[in-house]
Symmetry: C2
Subunit: 153 residues, 2 copies
DNA sequence: TATTGTTATACTCTATAACTATA
DNA sequence: TATAGTTATAGAGTATAACAATA
């Protein structure tokens, strides 16, 4: 005898469902949950994956550069790299030209973990295509990119 | 002499920018920031706004029903309602039929706060339409709704 | 037995300030 | 002076377990 739906993902919120911010938050939670559920290896979370992937494609990148690329704070990267090092996935190497900064590299275990995470990511993305269609997904990415321009105004 | 962009919102992440989850997270942060920046009254955060709005459109709703509608945990709603009560925006009224539950209502100050928050929300949504176009926004809402079906699989 | 609201607690993510060692 | 990495800390947001009152 509930007057409301009890399943949060099917709730009728009339007003709120027409708000881009609200729809965006709900969709992001669903997509992240699907991403996480599909990951097998030691790198299960979106934040960890993005760090691992950028180190993989930019070996030798410094922590500050990595933070700038991902839009995260230097202070918050430290624990992530600490964890990667303790898992044997990445290394901090001294820079030859600037003794303040660390150059980041994946170990071979890190490269394998990245490969595995990328496969899971590809399957995750395929589930999205199944829902939206390839064209729908492309449109979505375009619309989302436009939304980021809100930051500059 | 940076090799990467230093502004997080313009960073070139090659691989990551093609990931729906990543694009979704970045867009959501930008949209929430714009929403928050535009709010004036005591209810500045998206989570607070959604609670206030649902009480406003469903006066007499119980805390459990509200949680089910928004997909949040009962334990986490308590502090929000406490805050609304201390700000004089909402009231907990005893239910006539079930002495376990509280029926939630906005005070007149709460209704004014909701009205003000809705105006700011409308201006926020208008900025989004300016970026995406009315049709782009409609498409976006449809695509986001589809993504939520990931939860059921 | 099950549900409502509540407390306590913990974990993640994010943000700031301040320190050190370098530049 | 300014920057890179680090520490400490604090605030949101979210999650679970357990309890008292009530169904």
């Amino acid at each position: 005898m509930k007057t409301k739906e009890r399943n949060s993902s099917t709730a009728q919120l009339d007003e709120l469902d027409q708000h881009v911010g609200y729809a965006l938050r709900r969709a992001q939670l669903a997509v992240f949950a699907d991403f996480i559920a599909g990951q097998r290896g030691p790198v299960a979370r979106p934040g960890q994956f993005s760090v691992l992937a950028v180190i993989g494609t930019h070996p030798g990148i410094t922590q500050s550069q990595l933070c700038a690329a991902l839009g995260i704070k230097r202070a918050n990267l430290v624990a992530v790299i600490d964890q990667f090092e303790s898992l044997g996935l990445a290394r901090r190497l001294p820079s030859a030209t600037d003794r303040r900064s660390n150059r980041l590299q994946l170990t071979s275990a890190g490269q394998r973990a990245l490969q595995s995470a990328r496969s899971a990511q590809a399957r995750h993305e395929a589930r999205i295509v199944k829902l939206l269609g390839a064209e729908g997904r492309r449109e979505l990415l375009e619309l989302l990119a436009k939304l980021c321009e809100l930051k500059r105004s």
